[in-house]
Amino acid sequence: MSNHHENIATAHDHHDHGGMDKKGIWRIFFVLLALTALEFLIALGFVHHWGIIQKGMFVNVIYIALTLLKAYYIIAYFMHLKFEKSSFIVTASVGFIFIVYFIVLMLIEGDFLLYHLQEHPLFPNN
């Protein structure tokens, strides 16, 4: 078993880490930092301070897109998934189809409950 480990470890060292040297790591860091900074610029600047964009669907879609992009960079580069065998990439990610379905399902459910389950009073906010 230990022999097996070493085989994999050395094979790993030789050809798998080409894409992620120290420079590469810092490059990904600055990408993540820039994406986060962009989120803050939108949230604090455009929405909160200058009031150019209203809170709502449009800005939420931008936030979610930026979040998914950040997730991609973390998973692909920091967690190294991009450099694994493609069969493993598929194995690790294919199950999330169910999560996409679950999101659609639960948001439809929530929308249904909005019109059918109101027990507590609403107070107008002046």
């Binding site: 070493e6 999330f96 999560i99 909005l114 609403l122 906010n125």
Partner: protein
């Protein structure tokens, strides 16, 4: 046995389905860590999706900019997103130091692994500390599991107690669900961070103990690294859905 002709059956098979080589070229423990993280991602997804479903089911929702607007020790109010921005930065930064530790492990540099692991642990502790301050602040305002600032009040007093946290209409249920889900989800995430710090400390001790040097591989650093990045990944989503949207 003939030495000159090799029958079709005796030929060594070397296709991808013939065995004899590692199909994923990954060590067992790393694969298992990945599978654990996939299952954990499902748990967090379920939590966050339920949060979304609740938001869709309520005619109104709390305004995060009004709930989280203090910077502990600097400003009591009027500064949304700044403190949580700091927390996000700390966690991304500690993710970077973790990759640097993994990278040092590939080069079998014990001293560098120790240095970067220490920074990672420090970042994790700083994050959990900030989380504790955030929780304390919210608890003082009256939010907790099963309660919000208006719990125990009647009639118009409810609206008065909750008015500072809403921009649109005020709803007791929405404030309550927000409090429940905020403490549950950030609590579950904070629990993961704490476990991560513990695992990092164990791996750091093993590094100092020369365990990996004797083993000849720093694979263990990679495995805790995967977990640590996952924790950072979850925070990216928690940050978006609780603080931005």
């Amino acid at each position: 046995m003939s030495t000159t002709t090799v029958s079709q059956l005796d030929k060594v098979k070397d296709g991808p389905w013939s065995g004899g080589k590692s199909p994923w070229n990954l060590e067992y423990g790393k694969i298992m860590m990945w599978f654990f993280l996939v299952s954990d991602a499902f748990t967090f997804s379920a939590f966050l999706i339920y949060y979304g479903a609740q938001k869709f089911a309520q005619p109104t929702w709390i305004d995060a900019d009004k709930v989280f607007q203090s910077i502990p020790g600097i400003a009591e109010s009027g500064q949304p997103l700044v403190f949580v921005g700091l927390m996000t930065f700390i966690l991304i930064m500690s993710s970077v130091t973790m990759v640097l530790a993994v990278d040092a492990g590939h080069r079998n540099r014990k001293d560098e692994v120790v240095k970067w692991m220490l920074w990672t642990i420090l970042g994790g502790l700083a994050f959990v500390g900030c989380q504790a301050i955030e929780w304390t602040h919210l608890h003082h305002q009256g939010f907790w599991f099963g309660r919000n600032p208006a719990t125990g009040l009647e009639g118009e007093a409810v609206a008065e107690a909750l008015a500072p946290y809403f921009t649109k209409d005020i709803s007791y249920t929405a404030a309550l669900q927000f409090a429940n889900l905020f403490f549950t989800i950030t609590g579950f995430h904070g629990f993961h961070v704490s476990i991560g710090i513990l695992l990092n400390i164990i791996v750091l001790s093993m590094t100092l103990n020369n365990t990996f040097e004797r083993r000849g591989t720093y694979l263990m650093v990679e495995k805790v690294g995967l977990y640590w990045h996952f924790v950072d990944l979850v925070w990216v989503f928690v940050f978006t859905f609780f603080y931005l949207i």
